[in-house]
């Protein structure tokens, strides 16, 4: 049962799907020499017409992928920097994600957009965003795996899905390693979460690399507070049934999310839980600051992002709270 890293799991999923389905191709920048390591070995295996490298023409290539998808291909478009997802936000959200509707069900757009997102320390203010909240707001199917197994499974499902799917792969998760049996790696369905750790006192919802934080804090608090860690895995469509089941048990909710607070992903979870689910204490969220700009200086970055101390304090407070 060898170790498999999250990044290598992405690479493996890409290679396996390209092998399985000749309509799958990957496009992006610096993918021939695999600068980001997601496409290691793929150019040698599949050649320049399945590993379609371009320069900086992102808006054209997002549209190119949409056109190729409508003509029967399954593109995977890689963005090594999260701000590129902002640049192609319009073609994805306003064109690709609306084509099926506008065509009255005729034109499917099976494109996967792989975004290597999150904190990139020392790269300045423009390279550390976590933009998933704005994509899910527009109803784009989106996932953010937390483990290598889920990275493999969710990327596989995203590629096989007939709609546009955003796969957010936060840098903070890339070096997570798991012991795996390769033959057991399998697609993970969209919209189905996973309980990483069962507990009875507080439900902590975490995604991406924040799952590891939640599990570490849960371990620290073992004996004091029984923490259940629920990882939705898919950001949209969200596994509300899974969350409701957890809250039926605990009635106490803390959400930790790596994106900004105001109108962010965590806000949606807290709002829906407050409206519809069993809660005995006020729900809380730990997020980046409102409109946070992360990446200028490491000391400041740390102050702007969720941390384990905040989680521990919040969990203890929620566990004791009556309202």
């Amino acid at each position: 049962m060898p170790l498999l890293s999250y990044l290598r799991a992405i690479n493996r999923a890409l290679g396996d799907e390209m092998e399985r389905d000749s309509s799958v191709f990957v496009t992006g920048e610096d993918i021939r020499y695999a600068l980001s390591n997601t496409t290691n070995g793929l150019f040698d295996r599949f050649g320049p017409e399945r590993v379609l490298e371009t320069g900086a023409i992102e808006q054209a290539m997002a549209n190119f992928a949409i056109g190729a998808a409508m003509a029967g291909r399954r593109p995977v478009v890689e963005y090594q920097q999260p701000f590129l997802a902002m640049l192609v936000f319009e073609p994805i959200v306003n064109q690709g994600n609306k084509m099926l509707l506008m065509s009255g069900g005729q034109a499917t757009v099976p494109v996967t957009f792989l975004v290597l997102s999150g904190w990139r320390s020392g790269w300045g203010a423009q390279h550390s965003d976590q933009p998933h909240s704005v994509f899910v707001h527009y109803g784009v199917k989106s996932v953010m795996p937390a483990t290598p197994t889920d990275a493999y499974g969710l990327l596989t499902t995203a590629i096989r899905d007939d709609d546009p799917v955003m796969v957010f792969a936060p840098l903070g998760a890339h070096s997570i390693r798991e012991n795996v049996v390769y033959a057991d790696l399998a697609p993970v369905p969209l919209g189905v979460g996973r309980v990483h750790r069962e507990g009875s006192d507080v439900t902590v919802v975490a995604v991406g690399h924040r799952v590891a934080d939640a599990l570490a804090v849960a371990d620290d608090l073992a004996g004091e507070v029984s923490v259940e860690v629920f990882d939705p895995r898919t950001l949209y469509p969200f596994d509300w049934d899974g969350l409701a089941e957890s809250l039926d048990k605990t009635g106490r909710l803390l959400v930790v999310d790596d994106s900004n607070r105001f109108c962010g992903f965590a806000a949606e979870i807290v709002a829906t839980a407050a409206e519809e689910m069993h809660l005995v204490a006020r729900p809380r969220r730990i997020t980046r600051a409102d409109g946070a700009v992360v990446g200028c200086l490491p000391e400041l970055d740390v102050a702007l992002q969720p941390c384990r101390e905040q989680l521990a304090i919040a969990i203890r407070e929620i566990a004791k709270s009556d309202r």
Partner: protein, 88 residues
Amino acid sequence: MIETIRQFIFTSLQDMNYDTEDIDDDTQLGPRGADLASLSLAELAVRVEDEFGVKFSDEEAEDLAGKTVGEFCVIVVERLPATKAPVE
């Protein structure tokens, strides 16, 4: 000697739970190849140091990520203490 070193590297990797099936002399040790975590690279360096009586600085251990298995073997051979047999 190189073969001995190579075998030792493979055994160490397997010991540390890394998949060695597709690894050859041209495989890099880091994320572009064998995908060793940085701690694992450091551990590999220490194991090799202990086994063969060679020494790596901290920077050199970090740089191992970009080195291939073959290049690593050559580096080790070049650093062997004088009492060891010469390179074949």
